[in-house]
């Protein structure tokens, strides 16, 4: 008799797991705030897959719990029945999931293109380089007038200017170096070259739904556009975050992998970003203590 309690245990745990999904958005345990132009595409795919897999999860678990309950405590005096299965049923429950997977594969193409394909990346308003190393993100910005030249050429030719390409390979002496901070402004087409100085890392901005592995030896172009700003200037002229949008490492890279956190600063507009860049340049160029 007591064997039936296992089905209760399973049933309760499965029900609690399902309930968690219902409760999570209201408890703040759900997806981080989406401030990305291609974010909705990613989230929609997520919800679609969640709905499909959730349906099948509840279905199969319900069947499991039912079987656990019904067939527990059966006396061992009945002979087992051997059946050959049901060919039609097996075809059915293979073909349907295959069709669903194919559907998902087709539906995700556009979103993947928008995020990853170089031909689909819009001409950038801001360009920089992110160099991952154990255990921080070293960011290198070109000086404003250099970048203005590239972005103008980019828009005119609709192709990556040679200057930007060579800058990605070889630093300039007037580059502005910052650690663990990504700066851009609201609505700017932001493009950067992702490199790593040692092992595999992965550039992950949860709020932008952006993840890109940093592969040793490669210089990978990545783009995003933030739809909201999280930076304000306080009374002392310091730039402060109103919302923390983390940059984290998503590829295990050593003992400090969990500590490899940076911050995303999305300024209100280009003027604010330019002001910050100018200040960063001054700080780097200090000739007096």
């Amino acid at each position: 008799m007591h064997q039936k309690w296992w089905s209760v245990l399973f049933g309760v745990v499965m029900a609690a797991a399902a309930l968690l999904f219902v409760v999570a958005p209201f408890a703040g345990w759900w997806l981080p705030k989406n401030v990305s132009s291609y974010g909705p595409g990613v989230d929609n795919l997520f919800y679609l897959i969640l709905a499909i897999t959730g349906f099948f999860f509840i279905l199969t678990e319900a069947v499991l719990v039912y079987c656990l309950y019904k067939f527990a405590d059966r006396p061992a005096d009945t002979k087992a029945q051997y059946i050959h299965g049901n060919h039609k049923l097996e075809m059915f429950w293979t073909a349907i999931p295959a069709a669903i997977l194919l559907l998902i594969a087709l539906l995700q193409i556009k979103t993947w293109e928008d995020i990853k394909y170089r031909s689909k990346m819009p001409d950038p308003d801001v360009v920089f380089e992110v160099s991952a190393r154990q255990f921080e993100w070293r960011v290198r910005y070109p000086v404003p007038h250099t970048m203005a030249g590239w972005t103008a050429d980019w828009k005119r030719d609709n192709a990556e200017p040679a200057g930007a390409k060579s800058w990605a390979k070889q630093p300039h002496s007037d580059d502005i170096h910052v650690v663990n901070e990504i700066h851009t402004w609201k609505g700017a087409n932001t493009r950067f070259y992702l490199t790593t100085r040692d092992v595999l890392h992965s550039f992950y901005l949860p709020n932008l739904r952006l993840k890109q592995d940093a592969v040793p030896g490669k210089r990978i172009p990545v783009w995003f556009r933030a739809t909201e700003s999280n930076v304000e200037r306080d009374a002392n002229g310091q730039w402060k975050l109103t919302d923390e949008w983390d940059l984290v490492c998503a590829e295990l890279c050593g003992w400090g992998h969990y500590k490899m956190i940076g911050r995303l600063y999305v300024h209100k507009d280009k003027a604010d970003y330019d002001a910050w860049l100018e200040q960063a340049q001054k700080d780097q160029d200090r000739k007096q203590p």
Partner: protein
């Protein structure tokens, strides 16, 4: 219960394990944990020999067997390494007690034997140190070790090895104190924490709050003072002839004297900032002269041979072909490859100025403020360094001075 007796036990065991796992660790740090007694060898004199290779991963080079020239048979010993296990047991026990009296334990650190004004100036009060200690255990201990010995579990696996604070030497300082008593200013330590050390395993801790960084700096200073007191007293005991060895009874007074001396150095650092000269106006002229000063000697405009600072003697081929050396901690270093554009102590012009002006403590980079003819020459060197990593800028230098032969590539 739910199922068979053995399954019941399994469920209870799982529940208990979950309670233990998820109960957290930090609040239960052991009251009785003390700073360990120093057992690794003390390097008391700079090694002049050249190592043949950098130490392999997982090893420190300075076990007694591996360090060159341990000479202990003579009395007093003239070697460069002191084996702490050879120091009189009674003296070591007395030292251990006194160190605990003046410096406390990891959970309750303190700095005793100093004036209140000194404690305030260096922010070494008990509350700051206790919080600093907690943060240190969280963020720093696995590399820098419990007593700041640079021998935490991660330490043998990274190159360069983490800093050992116990000799009271910190590489990157903007203080103008003479070498031997040169300490970092508080700003220097804060800057190291905020920007990390590019080219090493020291990451940036800029995401900690200002207050937390301040507490960490205070704790590091505490560890350094404690370590240096222990180091100096062991060195002193070793140096004394066998008839005049200090006695256990002398430990307390001796320690107080050392604390006073070392605190004075730390206080002096904050007041002794190197303020650079005015920046030269003729930038490219400055760069060219920086190139000249970098060499051992050069011909000036009149054709007379002048002595340069001779940076090139260590930074061979501008750092591309450097030899390995030993530093003051007995670990292996190499002069920086200046063509890479990676500067450990900071890349700002003023940082490079400080490095050249007063050298890098402990690392065989000497102070050059007396080797240059005028302080402006330090700026010339800085400006030259700033174009050195960039082939286009080197080409531009050649363009501007077509008649001059630059041997840089």
């Amino acid at each position: 219960m739910i199922a068979s007796p053995s399954a019941n036990k399994g469920i209870i065991a799982l529940a208990l394990a979950a309670v233990v796992l998820f109960s957290g660790c930090e609040e239960n740090y052991n009251e009785n944990q003390v700073y360990p007694e120093r057992s690794d060898p003390l390097v008391v004199e700079q090694f002049e020999s050249s190592p043949v290779r950098i130490d392999p991963p997982g090893l420190f080079p300075n076990t007694l067997a591996e360090l060159p020239n341990p000479k202990e048979a003579e009395s007093p010993p003239t070697g460069k390494v002191v084996d702490p296990s050879k120091v009189d047991r009674g003296y070591r026990d007395a030292m251990g007690k006194a160190l605990e009296k003046y410096f406390g334990r990891p959970l309750h650190p303190l700095v005793g034997g100093i004036e209140d004004s000194e404690r305030d100036a260096l922010k070494l009060d008990k509350e700051t140190l206790a919080e600093g200690s907690r943060l240190y255990r969280l963020h720093c201990l696995h590399c820098h070790g419990l007593s700041g010995n640079g021998r935490g579990p991660t330490a043998p696996w990274v190159n360069p090895h983490p800093r050992d604070y116990r000799q009271g030497i910190f590489k990157f300082s903007s203080s103008s104190q003479p070498s031997g008593s040169r300490k970092p200013r508080r700003d220097d330590l804060l800057r190291t924490l905020k920007q990390g050390i590019e080219g090493t395993s020291m990451p940036s801790f800029a995401l900690q709050s200002e207050k937390e960084l301040d507490q960490l700096v205070s704790y590091v200073i505490h560890l350094s003072i404690r370590g240096q007191v222990e180091y100096e007293m062991l060195k002193e005991w070793n140096k004394a002839s066998s008839k005049e060895k200090p006695k256990p009874g002398d430990v307390d007074d001796g320690m107080k004297e050392w604390i006073t001396l070392i605190i004075g150095m730390w206080k002096g650092a904050d007041a002794a900032l190197i303020t650079p000269e005015a920046f030269p106006e003729d930038l490219w002229g400055s760069i060219k002269h920086g190139y000249e000063v970098f060499q051992a000697n050069y011909k000036d405009d009149k054709g007379t041979m002048q002595a340069g600072v001779g940076c090139i003697s260590c930074h061979i081929d501008y750092g591309r072909a450097n030899n390995l050396k030993y530093d003051a901690w007995g670990t292996i270093v190499r002069p920086l490859d200046l063509t890479q554009g990676v500067y450990r102590g900071g890349r700002r012009p003023v940082d490079l100025y400080w490095r050249i002006h007063s050298g890098i403590n402990g690392a065989q980079m000497p102070a050059s403020n007396n080797a240059v003819k005028t302080q402006k020459e330090i700026w010339d060197l800085v400006n030259f360094l700033q174009i050195l990593p960039y082939p286009k800028m080197r080409a531009e230098l050649r363009e501007k001075y077509k008649d001059y032969t630059f041997e840089m590539d």
